[in-house]
């Protein structure tokens, strides 16, 4: 390796190091905050907690209903993902593989709905759920999340499905597959990497979403984590340590998923991103 190349590697490593610390910095700071005793929170220095304390984590985990809310969040995110697939996969398949009239228009219209400011349509949406009688239920949240995840799901999956060679799809029809059979036997297994990434993105979206979840829920029966975190603050008093601890705890599942699937996300999006 000559010195020029070495220099390039060093520069690249340095830059990457900078990026990574930019990405990680706020996390680490949040973790430090979560470990600081309450009295030290509004002080700097000391930079590091002395001594570190688990009091905030204990308080969060021990808070009444926190586990129930965490379970709600898991249920909502997983079900949202499933529903987005149940609705989105056939639609994406139809758009990708069957000559559906007005395909461009359908895709554009889908995109349009995701452009509308959420704060404006949350109130009418809420009215709708009152009429349907499913206010303050996880299902109201699930339905909303999956519908607002649909444009992304359909767009990305349509692209994945288009990457599947037409001949395979024709072969399956000759071999006796119905549309459902083609989806099940050919399209889904082949688009698995894409499904994994889309599923993960939808999961994260649902896990993190606040405004709809907040409006559509009223009690711990249906509340999700971001809403619960918003509830940590008192009227004037903001328990920074507990918020930091709750934020760290709430981020862990998505972080674990990102770590588990990062390879899949990248390879999955490759197929989808390219054709737009």
């Amino acid at each position: 390796m000559d010195w020029k190349q070495l220099l390039r590697w060093l520069a690249g490593g340095l830059l990457l190091g900078l990026f990574v610390s930019f990405a990680l910095g706020p996390f680490i700071w949040q973790l430090i905050t979560a470990l600081k005793p309450a009295g030290q929170l509004a002080q700097l220095p000391p930079l590091l907690p002395a001594p570190p304390t688990a009091q905030h984590f204990v308080a969060v985990l021990g808070a009444p209903g926190f586990l129930r809310v965490a379970a709600n969040s898991v249920f909502v995110a997983v079900t949202t993902m499933l529903l987005a697939f149940i609705l989105g996969v056939p639609a994406a398949y139809a758009l990708a593989k069957l000559q559906v009239g007005g395909r461009q228009v359908i895709l554009a219209a889908l995109l349009c709905f995701s452009m509308f400011p959420a704060i404006a349509n949350v109130a009418p949406l809420y009215l709708l759920f009152i009429h349907l009688g499913i206010r303050d239920s996880v299902f109201a949240v699930v339905i909303t999340h999956s519908v607002f995840a649909l444009p992304f799901t359909v767009w990305t999956l349509t692209n994945f499905f288009q990457e599947i060679p037409n001949d395979l799809y024709r072969a399956a029809r000759i071999d006796g597959c119905s549309h459902g059979g083609i989806l099940r036997h050919v399209v889904l297994p082949l688009a698995m990497p894409g499904l994994v990434s889309v599923g993960l993105l939808v999961f994260i979206f649902s896990w993190n979403e606040f405004l709809y979840s907040f409006t559509l829920t009223a009690t711990e029966r249906s509340r999700t984590l971001p809403v619960a975190i918003a509830l940590f603050a008192g009227l004037h008093e903001i328990p920074w340590g507990e918020i930091a601890a709750a934020a760290i705890l709430a981020t862990i599942p998505t972080v674990v998923l990102v770590f588990l699937f990062q390879r899949r996300i990248i390879s999955g999006l490759t197929a989808g991103a390219v054709k737009g």
Binding site: A23, F113, L125, K275
Partner: protein, 291 residues
């Protein structure tokens, strides 16, 4: 029924459930908001009547609306540009093969896994000019969120932190499909890395760049949570964006009609931008396919 009609019906049957849900849950509220925006609806004045485009006409003379538009434009321009530049840099670095690449990828992706309300709290804590870690590390005492000159840039920084991973990820995906041979050919033709980047990477990546621009612009133009938590629109309204303004009109002051009009106008701005992108987008694709 012939096989052909059955077949055609089958296609729409596949689209049906998705269309039904979208129409019910997404379209209805939008229509309702459109309808509201044509009304003067002020419960505390006891007013509820149809006024046509009166609300939209009033937008023209509402200085606060225009300054919110300007802030939104500023926010979109700088956050999206920065995210694109940073994201591209990260993507180019991560394309190289090196030990620990997977871990680096995952680490860079992390901010994107944080709920945006929580991310805003992170940054509120970091920007605190008294005991925030940013001033501590920089050795400065800048009033990040309280100085009219710094508040919007600070919000942009927080947004860049949160969404650059998404941009980097999509760009990285786009980079991975550019065939390696092209770079080898360029090297043989005597191109240096900068030229290779300009002549090969950029043009071939253009469709993905445009896709990223589209999604990011759509999101950035609707920025709400982050600014609402960080500054609430202040100081001196210098960070008030369109959606923050719409929120205040709708939920703080119950101007349902006018607030809806601001929301609808925001939507129209985004729509116009997206259509412009899509147009460029289609052209870029055609160019690529012709090649």
């Amino acid at each position: 029924m012939t096989d052909a009609t059955r077949e055609r019906l089958g296609r729409y049957a596949l689209l049906g459930p998705a269309a039904l849900f979208v129409a019910g849950v997404a379209l209805l509220p939008v229509l309702f908001t459109l309808w509201l925006s044509l009304r003067r609806q002020l419960p505390i004045f006891g007013v509820s009547r149809f006024v046509g485009f009166e609300n939209y006409r009033f937008l023209l003379e509402d200085g606060r609306f225009w300054s919110a538009s300007a802030h939104t434009g500023y926010f979109v321009l700088f956050s999206v540009t920065l995210e694109l530049a940073l994201g591209l840099g990260i993507a180019l670095l991560l394309r190289q093969r090196f030990p620990g690449r997977g871990v680096a990828c995952a680490l860079v992706l992390l901010p994107w896994a944080v709920p945006s309300v929580v991310a805003a709290r992170f940054w509120e804590w970091i920007f605190n000019s008294d005991y925030g870690v940013l001033n501590y590390l920089l050795g400065t005492s800048v009033n990040w969120l309280g100085d009219p000159r710094w508040a919007l840039p600070a919000a942009i920084l927080a947004d860049v932190w949160k969404t650059t991973p998404f941009v980097a990820l999509l760009l990285l995906a786009g980079l991975q499909v550019i065939p390696e041979e092209l770079y080898r050919a360029a090297r043989i033709d005597g191109a240096n890395s900068l030229q290779a980047f300009r002549r090969i990477t950029l043009p071939l990546l253009m469709p993905v760049i445009l896709l990223v621009l589209l999604f990011r612009t759509m999101d950035a133009a609707r920025i709400f949570d982050l600014i609402f938590v960080l500054t609430g629109g202040g100081p001196a309204n210098r960070t008030e964006t369109l959606v923050v303004y719409a929120y205040k009109l709708l939920y703080r002051t119950l101007q349902f009609g006018y607030g809806s009009a601001v929301a609808v106008t925001t939507f129209l701005f985004i729509l116009a931008l997206s259509l412009a992108y899509l147009r460029i987008f289609r052209r870029a694709w055609r160019m690529r396919e012709d090649r």
